[in-house]
Amino acid sequence: MDLVLIWFVLIAVLWTGYLVLEGFDFGVGMLLPLLARDRGPGSAPAVPGQRSTSSEDRRRTLLTTIGPHWDGNEVWLLTAGGATFAAFPHWYATMFSGMYLPLLLLLVTLILRNMGLEYRHKRTDAAWVRRWDVAIVGGSVIAPFVVGVALTNLVVGMPMSEHLSGTTAYTEFSGSVLDLFTPVTLLGGLALTALCLTHGAHFVALKTSGPLRQESRTLARLAGAVAAALSVVLLLVLGADRGTVASWVAAGVAVVALVVAIAANTKGAERLAFVGSSTTIAMVVVGYFLMLSPNAINGRDAGPALTLEAAASSSMTLTIMTWAALVFTPIMLGYTVWSYWIFRRRLSVDHMARPDTRTEEMVG
């Protein structure tokens, strides 16, 4: 296998890692308002319009399940960006300048979401907490949607044209921002958002105990059905245009894995459910990259595509990067797994120190 192909695969791996990992913490963010409503007698808030203690405890439990991990999860995106820059400079340049405003939206939502996760618990006053909740929930919905739209654009093709720089030809995005939002790309955004929601619900079912665990399983069934419907339509539409045998297989595995995940969740096999939705997300990414190959960005309407060969770095850079990845990726995976192992136990609202006994907001 030549180096260009290896790096194409590695970029796919990085996107897979990003969406499988941050996918569930996006999902947990989306679940905040869904799983934190008060149910049953005795849980009504003392002051009308205020959240009750139990609802706040639920939110804190949900956020604590991802607390030690979300930041590391996001680094997969940064690594995907950096690796694209190093291995495929033209891809990096064309994609990020072409998707200028969507990328701006993604950056802003990620910034606000991260700040929310970091700052929410730093003060206890209701307005402060509520404002950051909006940032966390909004970011968790919008970010996967924008990523879905962006990746789908690569597959369905972006409007591009050939340019000359000196004696060198290169392809450059030649559309407007509106060209990036078509029914298919919007469907891609919706499907990824629904998949993340399902995936997050599986994660919560796996990581909590008590009522939270039960309710997230119920929600996962519903979200899973929606995600399955959207994904099937999306993969059919994309496959009809760009499908290859391999991409159809990946799409098939994605759908089967999702069905298995939904069934496992119903039966209470939470680990299998989580593995199932992880597989689905991974296979969607694999299917996307199979429909991309041998291009980095497909062209729209018979326009020129950006090929991997044209986009790639010199073989020296790719060799250096390959060695670096071979040496350092196992180390990185090692401590990542270790940190998940350290924080492996299930959480419940009972693990949250009560507000009156909490020493300030943070002991970190």
Binding site: D71, G82, S97, S165, T167, M316, I320, T336, R345
Partner: protein, 477 residues
């Protein structure tokens, strides 16, 4: 403003803002880790209280450093796509390595440190903060290597077929002379920021604790003095590395050094160049009015010899015109950078650093024995000293980046050729407006939160212990 100007402003705004938080992250993580480890060695309760107290300030700051760093990663592609195409082969590698080696380390181990109270054996727990610190330093190394390439490209060749720069020697790029002096200069300056911050907070809390519990007074005095020592020692490192850097710069970027001095004409053969401390007017080249000059000092700073030859800008520009004038990628109108910006930022950078060192020395004196400096002006001074160190970084970066103009990659690519051709000025206006407003709002939130946590001070000591499975966790969101 055209796209080029807007993109440059956006890069300046986002980068200078990002770099308010970076040095705090690097400097403070070391001090937090040191206090945490000291507690394990000495079982001095005050050390654990300080580790936790400063740790809170650290996490508040880290959050903003991280999110503004995400923008940095993508804006090369957004606004500077021609640049990214031209140098991606070389420039992308350290960026990717930074993410793979440093960002994962920082974020994973910071998560372990924050949530690890009661969950991880204590020695290992203290080690996690050291690992965070190592991550921040690694990160700085890679990003500085990328920047050093822009200042002084080495280890590459231009591929005549593609017109792009390609990697020829990665190790040479990672260890270029510019990189080897820039890294210690920036890192020691980061320790200065951490030191000045801890010193400022320590003195402030010490003043408040006067008449309070003895343990609190002892704790904050210790922090104030530790911070002062770090500021001084690191400041010495900054001075020495800066001196070496000046000589390397004179060699590889003589125009930058000449611009820093507003030195137009090369001094006649056999005459040394003076260093001007201040200049009023005359930076335009018509008879510069140096108010205060130190004879021959510029020759020494630039060459290490008191009668060394330093070239002036006029001569240099003629040389550059002759060698770069005709290439498509390098064509520029002038090879002289904006003089006032380089001249004043260079002086402000040094002034800020020396000011913080002077304050550090004074704090050591003023807190000797059991003294607490209670004068009214001490309060503002303790706010000013850390701010000076942070602004010192900004001045330094503005100097080094403006002084490189008109190049984006010295000698290889002029800045005006580097912008994204497919991005219109409306797009850049929107993103610049959004980032400016967002960053401004976040700055207000962050400063308020920091002040609030500083006001609360260190919490009372609590014996740490491993928690069992069904009791409330020591730390939750």
């Amino acid at each position: 403003m055209d796209v080029l100007e807007l993109a440059r402003w956006q890069f300046a705004i986002t980068t200078v803002y990002h770099f308010f938080f970076v040095p705090v992250t690097i400097g403070l993580s070391a001090i937090v880790a040191w206090y945490h480890s000291r507690w394990i060695r000495t079982r001095n309760e005050e050390h654990l209280r300080m580790a936790k107290f400063l740790g809170k300030l650290f996490t508040i700051n880290f959050a903003l450093g991280l999110v503004t760093g995400i923008v940095q990663e993508f804006q090369f592609g957004m606004n500077w796509s021609t640049y990214s195409r031209f140098v991606g082969d070389i420039f992308g590698a350290p960026l990717a390595l930074e993410a793979l080696l440093a960002f994962f380390l920082e974020s994973t181990f910071l998560g372990l440190w924050i949530f690890g109270w009661g969950r991880i054996p204590e020695r290992l727990h203290a080690a996690t903060m050291w690992i965070v610190h190592i991550g921040t330093v690694l990160s700085a190394y890679f990003i500085l290597a990328a920047n050093s390439f822009m200042q002084n490209p080495v280890g590459y060749r231009i591929n005549p077929d593609t017109g792009r720069a390609e990697m020829a020697d990665f190790l040479a790029m990672l260890t270029s002379p510019v990189q080897l002096v820039a890294f210690p200069h920036v890192i020691t300056a980061c320790y200065m920021v951490g030191g000045a911050l801890v010193m400022g907070v320590g003195v402030h809390k010490l003043r408040q604790a006067k008449g309070g519990a003895l343990a609190d007074r002892r704790m904050y005095r210790h922090a104030a003095r530790l911070g002062a020592v770090v500021t001084l020692v690191a400041g010495l490192g900054v001075t020495i590395s800066g001196d070496v850097q000046g000589k390397v710069m004179t060699e590889v970027q003589p125009m930058k050094m000449a611009a820093a001095e507003a030195l137009y004409e090369t001094p006649p053969e056999g005459e040394c160049a003076p260093f001007s401390v201040l200049t009023v007017a005359g930076l335009g080249g018509e008879d510069p009015t140096h108010v205060l000059e130190i004879p021959c000092l510029l020759s020494y700073l630039g060459t290490g010899s008191w009668d060394g030859q330093v070239q002036g800008m006029v001569e240099l520009e003629n040389e550059y015109r002759a060698s770069f004038g005709d290439s498509e990628l390098t064509r520029a109108d002038t090879y002289i950078p904006p003089i006032a910006m380089t001249y004043w930022n260079f002086r402000l950078m040094m002034g800020a650093g020396f000011f913080a060192m002077a304050v550090g020395a004074w704090v050591l004196w003023a807190t000797r024995k059991d003294r607490a400096p209670m004068q009214r002006w001490v309060g503002p001074l303790m706010v000013l000293a850390p701010i000076a160190t942070i602004l010192g970084h900004s001045f330094g970066w503005i100097f080094t980046e403006i002084g490189r103009q008109p190049w984006v990659v010295f000698g290889e690519m002029a800045t005006h050729t580097a912008v994204s051709p497919s991005v219109g000025s409306t797009d850049v206006w929107i993103s610049m407006g959004v980032f400016t407003l967002l960053y401004g709002a976040l700055a207000v939130v962050e400063v308020r939160l920091l002040l609030e946590y500083i006001r609360r001070g260190a919490e009372p000591f609590e014996e740490p212990r491993l928690v069992t499975d069904d009791e409330p966790l020591a730390f939750t969101y």
